[in-house]
């Protein structure tokens, strides 16, 4: 099993391990060293180092002119990042929780994502919008959502969702260098935070030096022959856990980590489903009108004959994320729900 795409990296292979958060920060720091136009702004990105450790140490290293704490004023500072990008700077701007997009979405989808198009390609907006997603720690309905499907639905922004440290670094490098706005969604549960139960894969080997993971390329993180599990972010790890657990029972899961939603690597999905004939989509975003339906539609419109069994999905069943632990875990895409879905698919 490999979590990195070695062909995408020009760095020397390494066994050095970092948390996802540290890998993300390492990429930002390397890009800030490389290009004076790169700077970071957002709430608590300075002395605090990012509520989810996404900017730890950057203030000490680069100073307050390049790592800028903002007021709680997302429309103003995300809009300011858009204007700065229009003038050729390359801001990395953090929206603390993706759940907060309601107070600033106009700057994101009507400005950041449309200026390049409306200008007929004459104005570029090279900006990275980082934001924390995901639940599982009883933070309630306004601090636990994923919502990546909403961004991916709206044209004009690339959308990436790393699941592990190496990809966190490689996708950040690619995002900063991209001339388009890139929304970079990191799950709190894969960051390796000391104050939250760690997924065991939130610490992993990360190439030193320059490491680029191309945007728009999914990764088959576990090859298998019976069922294709297409997923992303924290759910990748749940899917891998389930795959390991089911292997001795003779159920061989292939796990595809999407990594990018826009552009979506449809070919990798189709190639995998073409081999397994069974598709399960696992998504921590809401069930309806979202990512899981889109993946299945891409398969169905290309070749419904690829599927030997009806496609299945495990997602949040159109309910706000509940607070109480038993309720929250009843709606999240847990390993238990994934296991049952896989077994249903293979008719076990």
């Amino acid at each position: 099993m490999t979590l990195t795409d070695a062909s995408a990296s020009s760095a020397t292979p390494t066994t050095r391990k970092l948390t996802t958060a540290k890998a993300m920060v390492e990429a930002i720091a390397q890009e800030m060293e490389r290009d004076d136009d790169v700077f970071v702004l957002g709430e608590d990105v300075g002395a605090y180092g990012g509520i989810f450790s996404s900017t730890t140490g950057l203030l000490d290293r680069f100073g307050p002119k390049r790592v800028i704490d903002t007021p709680i004023s997302e429309t103003a500072f995300i809009g300011a990042a858009v204007g700065a990008a229009v003038e050729g700077l390359r801001p990395i701007v953090e929206l603390m929780f993706v759940d907060f997009f309601g107070v600033c979405m106009d700057q994101i989808y009507n400005h950041m994502a449309k200026i390049h198009f409306e200008s007929g390609g004459n104005v570029k907006v090279p900006l990275v919008l980082t934001t924390a997603v995901g639940g599982g720690y009883s933070d309630g309905a306004q601090h636990s959502q994923c919502l990546w499907g909403t961004f991916a639905h709206l044209p004009g922004m690339k959308v990436v969702v790393p699941s592990n440290p190496a990809d966190a670094k490689g996708l950040m490098t690619a995002a900063v260098r991209d001339d388009n706005p890139v929304v970079y969604l990191f799950h709190k549960g894969v960051m390796g935070l000391p104050w939250m139960a760690k997924n065991r894969r939130s610490v992993g080997p990360v190439p030193e030096g320059e490491h680029v993971v191309p945007i728009g390329k999914a990764n088959v993180v576990r090859p298998g022959s019976d069922v294709t599990v297409v997923t992303l972010s924290l759910s990748v790890h749940h899917a891998l856990d389930v795959a390991e657990e089911l292997a001795p029972q003779g159920v061989d899961c292939e796990v595809v980590d999407l990594r990018s939603l826009v552009p979506l690597d449809t070919d990798t999905i189709l190639e995998s489903v073409g081999r397994t004939g069974r598709l399960l989509v696992v998504d921590e975003d809401y069930l309806s009108f979202g990512l899981s339906g889109e993946i299945i539609a891409r398969v169905a419109e290309r070749d419904p004959g690829l599927l030997r069994a009806p496609a299945a999905r495990v997602a949040v069943p159109d309910v706000p994320i509940p607070y109480a632990r038993p309720l929250e875990y009843a709606v999240l895409p847990t390993p238990d729900r994934i296991r049952r879905a896989v077994l249903d698919l293979v008719g076990a």
């Binding site: 103003a76 500072f77 809009g79 300011a80 858009v82 204007g83 107070v103 009507n110 390049h116």
Partner: protein, 326 residues
């Protein structure tokens, strides 16, 4: 004020008015006998700026093409006064391939990197990007300024206040301009705004605020001079509100049945007022006035002809420009 500066302001106001009258004519020319907003050579909503020329002419007289202007859904006067290429702007309004946005933007979405001009069709939401342009200018150690324009209706939006706070906090070189034309579509200012002057709101952010009461281009010019100088000197943003005039409807096709002040509107037209004043002061005579009018006419006609000559975009290119290619 020097006569040539006054003539320059007048010339700009005439050019803008000529442009708006021409677009008005072209817009309606093929929408008869029954008005259909989606029909004709210029389809879609059309928000014309006649009556608001003094704001754009007075402010932009202090700018160069290195300064930024972020305008609104009613952007033509500021685009013209800031020196956006009239041919390509007109081609964009006509939805043609030689337009500023190759026909992707339209009249509310004009972007011109050459003059750092942009607009937003969303009320007040052009302010935050202007703050970001100013941030870029400040970071690069330049004395360039960003002018951010809204109407008085926008001053009740959150984005307006967030932008003022951030620009004041970071001492950014922004000149915030509020065009108070009394009406937010059909809602009078008295029904939308709790203060008599939005300039008062500047005090809430610790920055200078000035209101120009009489839609006088020279008064705007004077107030803007101070605001632009302050921004260039690194002393931070200012807010200017100009009590201006929406000479026509909110958009074309607006019958303005709600408008209680309609009778007095023609008498408040700033263009004949200014012309009269320049003539009385001996700055303008028939020869100069005719020459200015003829030049404006010729320039605008050339732009319209350029637009009409430009091809319509090929439908096969409809998906282009969503993303920049590496």
């Amino acid at each position: 004020m020097e006569p040539d500066v006054r003539l320059g302001l007048y010339r700009m106001m005439v050019l803008i008015r000529t442009y708006e009258e021409t677009i008005l004519r072209e817009y309606h020319a093929d929408k008869k006998p029954v008005f259909d907003i989606g029909a004709g050579l210029i389809p879609g909503e059309m928000h014309l700026s006649a009556g608001q020329e003094p704001v754009a002419a007075g402010v932009c007289a202090h700018l160069t093409a290195d300064d930024a202007v972020t305008a609104t859904h009613r952007p033509h006067h500021f685009a013209i006064a800031h020196g956006v290429d009239l041919d390509r702007m007109t081609a964009e309004i006509f939805g043609r391939v030689d337009g500023l946005g190759r026909g992707r933007g339209g009249h509310m979405h004009l972007f011109d990197p050459a003059t750092h001009f942009s607009c937003s069709g969303i009320i007040a939401e052009g302010y935050p990007p202007a703050v970001g342009q100013a941030l870029a200018f400040q970071r690069r150690g330049t004395d360039r300024v960003a002018v951010a324009v809204t109407g008085e209706g926008a001053a009740n939006q959150g984005a307006f206040h967030e932008a003022l706070n951030l620009a004041a906090l970071w001492k950014l070189p922004v000149v915030f301009v509020v065009e108070d034309n009394d009406w937010g579509i059909s809602v009078p200012r008295s029904a939308s705004t709790c203060v008599t002057s939005n300039a008062e709101r500047a005090a809430g952010y610790g920055i200078p605020g000035e209101r120009v009461e009489d839609n006088s281009v020279e008064a705007v010019h004077e107030v803007a001079a101070a605001a632009v100088a302050r921004a260039r000197a690194g002393e931070g943003p200012s807010l200017i509100e100009v009590h201006t005039l929406r000479l026509w409807g909110h958009f074309e096709g607006d019958a303005q049945g709600y408008r209680s002040d309609l009778e007095g509107v023609p008498g408040r037209d700033p263009l004949p007022t200014y012309e009269k004043r320049l003539r009385a002061d001996g700055v303008l005579d028939d020869t100069a006035a005719n020459s200015i009018a003829a030049q404006a006419h010729d320039r605008v006609q050339a732009a319209v002809e350029f637009a009409k000559r430009s091809p319509e975009p090929d439908p096969a290119t409809a998906l282009d420009h969503v993303f920049a290619q590496a």
